[in-house]
Symmetry: C2
C-alpha cells in the first residue's frame, strides 16, 4: 500500500496528538480526569443514562466507571435513580451542580479551541471547519 500516504497520515496523527494535548490541558489540570470529563459530557448530552449505556458509549471498564459514579454522587454532581422495572439499574443524571461543572469545563474547552484558531482570519477558520468536516466524512465508514 502507498506508504507515502500512510506516512502523511501518521505525521498528521502525531501533530494532532500534540494539538489535543494542548487543548485538553485545562481538563487535566482541573479536578477531573479526561475520562471523568467525558462522563460528564455524555450525561449532559443525553438526559439520563444507565452505567451500562455509559460504559458502552465510552468503552471503559465498568468497575472504574462504578467508582467514578460513586465519587460524583458523593461530590453532589450526579444523581442516581433506581429504575422501577429493574432494581439492578440506575438512571444517572447530572444535578444542578453537575450541570454547572459541565458548563465550566465546556466553556474552558471553548476558550482553548478559540486560542487554537485565534491567529486565523474568519475565512481561514471557515476553511478549517470545512477541511475537518471532510476528514471526518472520509474516515467515517458507513
Amino acid at each position: 500500500m502507498g506508504n507515502d500516504i500512510i506516512h502523511s497520515i501518521r505525521d498528521f496523527n502525531r501533530f494532532y496528538t500534540a494539538i489535543l494535548g494542548v487543548v485538553n490541558h485545562h481538563i487535566l489540570e482541573s479536578e477531573y480526569s479526561l475520562t471523568e470529563a467525558r462522563v460528564i459530557y455524555e450525561l449532559h448530552s443525553a438526559a439520563a443514562l444507565t452505567a451500562r449505556e455509559l460504559k458502552e458509549m465510552l468503552q471503559i471498564d465498568e468497575g472504574y466507571l462504578s467508582r467514578i459514579i460513586t465519587k460524583f454522587v458523593k461530590n453532589g454532581i450526579l444523581r442516581k435513580k433506581q429504575v422501577k422495572s429493574d432494581k439492578r439499574a440506575y438512571l444517572l443524571e447530572l444535578t444542578a451542580k453537575g450541570n454547572k461543572v459541565f458548563e465550566a469545563i465546556d466553556q474552558q474547552s471553548d476558550v482553548q479551541v478559540a486560542h487554537l484558531i485565534e491567529h486565523l482570519g474568519k475565512a481561514e477558520q471557515k476553511k478549517l471547519v470545512e477541511l475537518v468536516t471532510q476528514v471526518k466524512a472520509l474516515l467515517t465508514r458507513e
Copy 2:
C-alpha cells in the same frame, strides 16, 4: 467569537480522539507505553539526543524520563554515552535491538493506519492527505 466554528472543531476533536485511540491501541497492548513509544520514535529519528533534549521535545517529566531511560538500558534497547565535554550529560542512541523494537512498532502503526483508510479508494486517500496537510498548515503558527 463564532461558536459554530468552535463547536465544529470540538466535534472533530472528539472524533479524532477516538480515531487516535483505535490507531494507538496496539501500542498500549504492547510492552511499551505511549510515552515510551514516543521516546523510541524520537531516538530513531534523531541520531543521538540527551535526556534534556528529549524532555524538551516530548514535554515530559525528567524524573519519569530518567526511569524510562534506565529501563531501556536494562532491556538493552538503548545505549548511553557520556558526553566528553560534559560529564553530567549522556547521548542516547538506540541499540540494534532498539532499532528492531522501533521497526516492529512502526510497522504495526502502518498497519493500523492502513486499516483506517482501507475503505477508501486511492483518489480519496490522496484527498485525505491533502486535507490533513492543509489542516496542519492552518494550525501551525509561523
